[in-house]
Symmetry: C2
Subunit: 334 residues, 2 copies
DNA sequence: GACCGCCTTGCAATCGTTTGCGTAATTTTA
DNA sequence: TAAAATTACGCAAACGATTGCAAGGCGGTC
């Protein structure tokens, strides 16, 4: 079949172990032998078998990357960044799509566990307790979830949501709604709590959901929004926000004239939608990179518990005001 | 470390080989022993090591999936479908992003070759000759490229482009432009040739490009379009089309009033853009599924060349007319 | 009751690396 | 210049599975 270490050994007239060392510990070889081996390897087009290597070393140099839904434009930039970061460190990424289903997600971790050095869970829908249990078998890093003892990178949506609410209050809105996302989403909890807290005593908040975070769900809640009399809504993500805008449009409700809408994520869609969506920009790509960095650094710990310090990174977010927010109808213009 | 086949053997009081057979050839075991082994395995939480298995069998049960740019919304649905299809057959997907660079793409194939059973090249930017050479070392399946002897799934963009041109001609356009994509893209060649052929003797065609297939590039060609006097343009993909619309808008050129625009792919963006983009819908998800099916079926061939029949699938495309196309300025209304 | 054949299971080699250990070769030290 | 220390490299045992071969048990046939 392919050329193995044995072939190279024969070609270079040395033992296989010497070939192995020529790659892994070049300084332990006499320069002359080293170049002879390397040269032979080059001539034969030798590439070490990662599989065989993994078997002895116990490290596969692979990372599992599990996302809730690849088709959600929130994820691709994150995957892209993670993939590049991983490759830069000679790692490869297994991608898996959990379809927003905790059971599938768990099963994926188990299935992948045997052939990766660690798993990144992006926007996990699994319960904390279960994640902790899984992380006893395989190193796990989290994106958009915080669990003590487990490395994680989160986006500071609290700050983003506070800014968003402040923006709405300043425009004069007093009846707000939060179109919530999946119940199991940590981010959703964060935003939801922040919305209520930040409006306390200054505006009423209706919570609608939980919803699957896609356009159809957004479209579906439009009617409730229209009937509720709220003048501004924050949605769990851009997809819901955009679906909602579409739905409101269909019902003859003007955005932002009658109702203001704010999304979260700042996906490409936000800039493209008309009216262009006011949204909270989150550093997706940075999160992807940070997650693999954290995971790799976590798994590098040799002394089991000792070196395994679980880093926790929080990334800043920021409100970007576009055309989907305006003062409520009948308000004195701002 | 983890529980191995040996642990299970001990627990079930049989030899390792029996444990192995309990999974791979259950009918060769006495029912009694089989259940005893399976029960022991369950009790211990045994999961066979894919790595070790790969070493002996030579099959990793992994597939490499290389795309030109994950962030291009054309790909995620394809990746998602491919991932699900693969999983249904107990395979996992390595995703890699070639960043539109042939050199990186080649390097990725080489790097992945050692740990996958085959690779899917989506919208490859590598030259045919090189692909043929690579496919001698590792089974390859193609999406959006046709090479005889290599399994491939292509989208019938010729038909789509013909329909698009027919649509424009019928609206009364006589000065057309094609905003081309990457030179190395097979699809780009197909469309380009079709546009010229289909307009032959009925309209003039200006070709602008090649361009990197993203919004910025589209934005950049807007000026040339505005100056050229063309009344309708077909773009290599939605991204270019949308960037172009944005650019034209900035220049005060009305779409579709002054210039009609047609994209390709029907990504989410097409429905969201304003005006909503007329585009050629291509079955991305189907392509993803078909590609892994083809690849797997190709690699299953035991008799080397004999069973290795390279399937070639062509998927239908279709024009969807939205709001970005209209009769040229000054034409009698349609 | 000896022989044959099938069914079930154990044995051991193998896949392609890595790595601890040992030894030959070389250099340093006294 | 002999002994000690170091260096360069070979040997062989892992890693965790799969699989061809063989052996033992059993029932059936003549």
């Amino acid at each position: 079949m392919a050329v193995t270490i044995k072939d190279v050994a024969k070609e270079a007239r040395v033992h296989m172990s010497t070939v192995s060392r020529a790659f892994s510990m070049p300084h332990r070889l006499r320069p002359e032998t080293r170049t002879r081996v390397l040269e032979a390897a080059r001539r034969l087009g030798y590439r070490p078998s990662r599989v065989a290597r993994a078997l002895t070393t116990g490290r596969t140099h692979n990372i599992g990357f599990i996302v809730a839904d690849i088709a959600n434009p929130f994820f691709p930039p994150m995957i892209k960044a993670a993939e590049h970061a991983a490759r830069a460190r000679d790692y490869h990424l297994f991608i898996a799509d959990a379809s927003e289903d905790p059971a599938i997600e768990t099963e994926l971790v188990d299935a992948l566990a045997k052939q990766v050095d660690g798993v990144v869970l992006c926007g996990p829908r699994i319960a904390n307790a279960k994640i902790e249990r899984l992380s006893e078998n395989i190193p796990i890093a989290l994106v958009n979830r915080k669990i003590s003892g487990i490395p994680s990178v989160t986006m500071d949506v609290v700050h983003g949501a506070e800014t968003a609410i402040a923006h709405l209050l300043e425009l004069g809105h007093r009846k707000l709604a939060y179109v919530s996302g999946p119940r199991q989403s940590w981010t959703n909890g964060q935003i939801s709590r922040t919305v209520t807290a930040a409006s306390e005593g200054r505006a009423s908040v209706t919570v609608l959901g939980p919803n699957t975070p896609n356009e159809n769900a957004g479209l579906a809640v439009a009617e409730q929004i229209a009937d509720s009399g709220v003048t501004a809504v924050l949605a769990y993500n851009d997809l819901l926000a955009i679906g909602l805008m579409e739905g409101l449009h269909n019902l003859g409700v003007d955005v932002p004239g009658d109702v203001s809408v704010i999304g979260v994520d700042d996906t490409v869609l936000a800039r493209l939608a008309r009216p262009r969506l006011t949204t909270i920009v989150v550093p997706t790509a940075d999160a992807g990179t940070a997650a693999v960095d954290l995971l790799l650094q976590y798994t590098a710990g040799d002394d089991e518990l000792a070196a395994r310090t679980a880093g926790q990174v929080s990334l800043p977010t920021q409100l970007v005001v576009r055309d989907s927010t305006a003062p409520p109808p009948g308000a004195a213009s701002a």
